[in-house]
Symmetry: C2
Amino acid sequence: IRPGAGHLNGYKIANPTVLARIGDDELVELLRGYGHTPYLVAGDDPPRMHQEFAAVLDRCLDEIGAIQRRAREDGVDLVGPDRPRWPMIVLRSPKGWTGPDEVDGLQVEGSWRSHQVPFANARDDDGHRKVLEDWLRSYRPEELFDELGAPVAAVRDLHPAGARRMSANPHANGGLMLQPLRMPHFRDYAVDVSEPGTGAVESTRVLGAFLRDVMRQNMTTFRVFAPDENNSNRLGAVLEATDRTWSAERLPTDDHLAPDGRVMEILSEHLCQGWLEGYLLTGRHGFFSCYEAFIHIVDSMFNQHAKWLKTTNGIAWRRPVASLNYLLTSHVWRQDHNGFSHQDPGFIDHVVNKKADVIRVYLPPDANTLLSVADHCLRSRQYVNVIVAGKQPALQYLDMDAAVVHATKGIGIWEWASSDADGEPDVVMACAGDVPTMETLAAVEILRGWFPDLRIRVVNVVDLMRLQDERAHPHGLSDAAFDALFTRDKPVVFAYHGYPWLIHRLTYRRSNHENFHVRGYVEEGTTTTPFDMCVLNGLDRFNLAISAIDRIERLDGRAAHAREALTNKLIEHRLYVRTHGIDLPEIRDWAWSGTAGPRSSGGSPLREPEA
Amino acid sequence: IRPGAGHLNGYKIANPTVLARIGDDELVELLRGYGHTPYLVAGDDPPRMHQEFAAVLDRCLDEIGAIQRRAREDGVDLVGPDRPRWPMIVLRSPKGWTGPDEVDGLQVEGSWRSHQVPFANARDDDGHRKVLEDWLRSYRPEELFDELGAPVAAVRDLHPAGARRMSANPHANGGLMLQPLRMPHFRDYAVDVSEPGTGAVESTRVLGAFLRDVMRQNMTTFRVFAPDENNSNRLGAVLEATDRTWSAERLPTDDHLAPDGRVMEILSEHLCQGWLEGYLLTGRHGFFSCYEAFIHIVDSMFNQHAKWLKTTNGIAWRRPVASLNYLLTSHVWRQDHNGFSHQDPGFIDHVVNKKADVIRVYLPPDANTLLSVADHCLRSRQYVNVIVAGKQPALQYLDMDAAVVHATKGIGIWEWASSDADGEPDVVMACAGDVPTMETLAAVEILRGWFPDLRIRVVNVVDLMRLQDERAHPHGLSDAAFDALFTRDKPVVFAYHGYPWLIHRLTYRRSNHENFHVRGYVEEGTTTTPFDMCVLNGLDRFNLAISAIDRIERLDGRAAHAREALTNKLIEHRLYVRTHGIDLPEIRDWAWSGTAGPRSSGGSPLREPEA
């Protein structure tokens, strides 16, 4: 809470406002409850109001000065019981103040009728035109303008000069103040990945250590914002460098609360977004982590920020500001505790409706790729960057060198997982997102177990906008590059993190689009095991393998037994999960083996699962 | 404001809550500022707390009774200065109350550590298991359960019976209480349309008269909700039947404010949405009108309601509730005053990500179709219905008989605008939404003026979900029906109200999809004329006609002059709008002529526009 000011003119379009009609007593209590000391200035006589307002302003400046002295000179920590009630001025003046009193016999000044256009017909109605003339003459234009119509010196010289002019204030053109972040080397935080598709790393925890050191090197220009508790999203390492902002009462059991903390943690996506926008627009840097489903709470605020970026890109004197960086985690595929209400990967869909030159979407499959992407986003300007990455222990695929190459390309063939190097693939298995990547690799292993001669190409997508046409997005692949990855005529089974139709929307112009078969989240879910969530939505390894079998020409007529065994597996899975409440051991313990996987057992799905 | 209750246990996951740490004085002021009389009950000794809470509850019930008597027996109108401050109880008790005091030497009860799982390892750690046992034994289970483990009679008989059981309370299963609305005949409100494509009717104003009479016949079970002023959205006729809900101070100049008003008008989309959801879930009916761009403010709330509907569809004892009806108006194409910040047609994209069996989207092109659609939506159950319709004067196309047929089909060929009755069309001109429909018809007239022998089919879409595959949405057309409308191989120029890629997403499986060329909103806009907004986004008649020319095989090599003249027109338009601030007369005054339009003049676009 800081000094505040509010203006109550009593009305919105055709209605009174609530605060204007609850009485001074309730209004004052409300504002005191918000932590202010309110001062009301009310009336309708302009000269008297000017004097009163000036006096209150002086009084408030004195109070602010006293508070500042208490902190700066007396060294009082202004928190808890010493937290100051900053002054707040409430100006109550009539709506349409000094405008026409009455028009057509109806009250205008001091009523809702003065909203926007207090009278409609000055062009054709003599009465209205007279009202307009009297109104404008009441400002005594002959004293304000010279004979050429230019403002007189008293008006011309009234405003401040230089950077104190409102339009030239550097705080309102934050790019002028912007200093690049001092960045640690993201490679120093790399996870060791000796064999791809192994390990159990919480990718966002790795990112947390990197963010901690970004914080340490930028203690006046960087903040992290978290409606859902930084710790819960595994970014807790940041608290080694700073605290959570807190100025109310503190207790000994509290954890890392301080008035100068730089972690803005409050269970309000709106506040986090608003604070971050203000912070960026005044020339600083920030990072917003959020539960994926609940970032929709700020859809409308994001809209306005994206529109701001698009518009300011066309205004030469507006300098670029730091990008607005979202990390969406606690995502749709891991709902071990929360379930259906916490599942919505659609913020990406919302974001990609905005102008292509201000939005970027990244789905790093593992920790090293996440580091590389985060480094890139923190250095960027004038974008909204959306990064989606899980916080649960997950397999790692790329060592740091490979991750940098992969994140830089944004999309690529994973040679080590592919078996089509000697020619055309029979099928392209594509994936975007950490869970879909794991399921795709497991499906590839299953397919190679059943059909060792199958030529499978694995394509992983980090930068979602690579899928779009190069004419539609600056990151879009050329048709030649796209066709080289996805072929012009082979089946593509695409496992995607979010709503599957987004992939169709991004690729509908591509020559091979009709062979794209996309699996993703189809709004099925509950509180269940990680693998069951995939099964409920048809994104699991067995369904992906079946989808491939159904589309690979060479398998036509050869794959009935494999298909049957995979279907049996799905039933075995369901029985096991319903009985044990956890996933089958072969699912829980699965890792990429580097060789063709075992041919699936194909045993009866109805045998009793082991206890 | 009604009686309230709150519980402050001090913490969220790992942090204190703000209200627990601002001191009782500020808390009480805040709640008094919200209009309550707060009563604090604080402590940690269960027996004493039970007694204190019971005493405060009695006191509050007495106060509520006194307020009710004042209104019911003494006849006091409880508004303005007589508005009661309803009591509110605030219970302050420790988080994890009566749970373990300490675990591993750290305080748990009364601290953030008691969140969810106060100790993690009861299975493997003897100390944790002992804590668990002591904790559970503290409830003296031997007194609560008999030797078979069933609750003893004292527990069994504690809860109320029948409809007073929480799970059986009919107010919590609103469908049980739901009565159908008594509906006026929507045909009685029909607009006279003697010639299609003429007139200047504010469609939502026509709807307002219908809603007024729905209100009159359902004065205890129907409310309208409006963050953006009902009047501004042209639904003001509703105020002939009821008032705006208002219980604060009133002045003589106020317009239709009353405590029992049934128009819920407040500039908070969140409050409107929350009120409406509660109203529907308790068995009533409602109608929510909103500026199109700002309905995104409740994206996340809509999500949860849609998920609720999907889930309850699978619960046999939950009875269907009335649908949640949105009217989105003040839409993207008419920004004569507001501009870019007020443009976002993406709520439709957000809605169609939800499960197909609970969502419906309608784009009625004119007033009679809007009436028919609204009647259908108000009678429906368990859906979210989204209706998009403009509030500005617009052309009308269908008389009531035709509108009912068209709205019932949801999609159809407009014979009167088509010229392909004798055979295959050369092009299908499709449209969805009021402004795109007008631009499409104007483009058709232009095309027929230049190429009188062209066979053009006009398809209008009201029910957007008709475009989807029948396997993907219950309203989806079969492939045969879709192909009959859109052909299997002819070019389709589709003018759509919202983001164009949504049409691709809905139709990508259709056989003729590769010939679909969609125009829509591409995030370009400012405060400008209605037609210029179309031009900025390429949805205008000239661009649509050019798109058709470029794709019609028969015109290959024949259309250079037409194309040039249309391009000239676009330049003429731009010069005129920049000069005069209004659209060209031929645009402003355009109406469907019923015959092939004049061949566009093709004159120099650089001649000076007339003054």
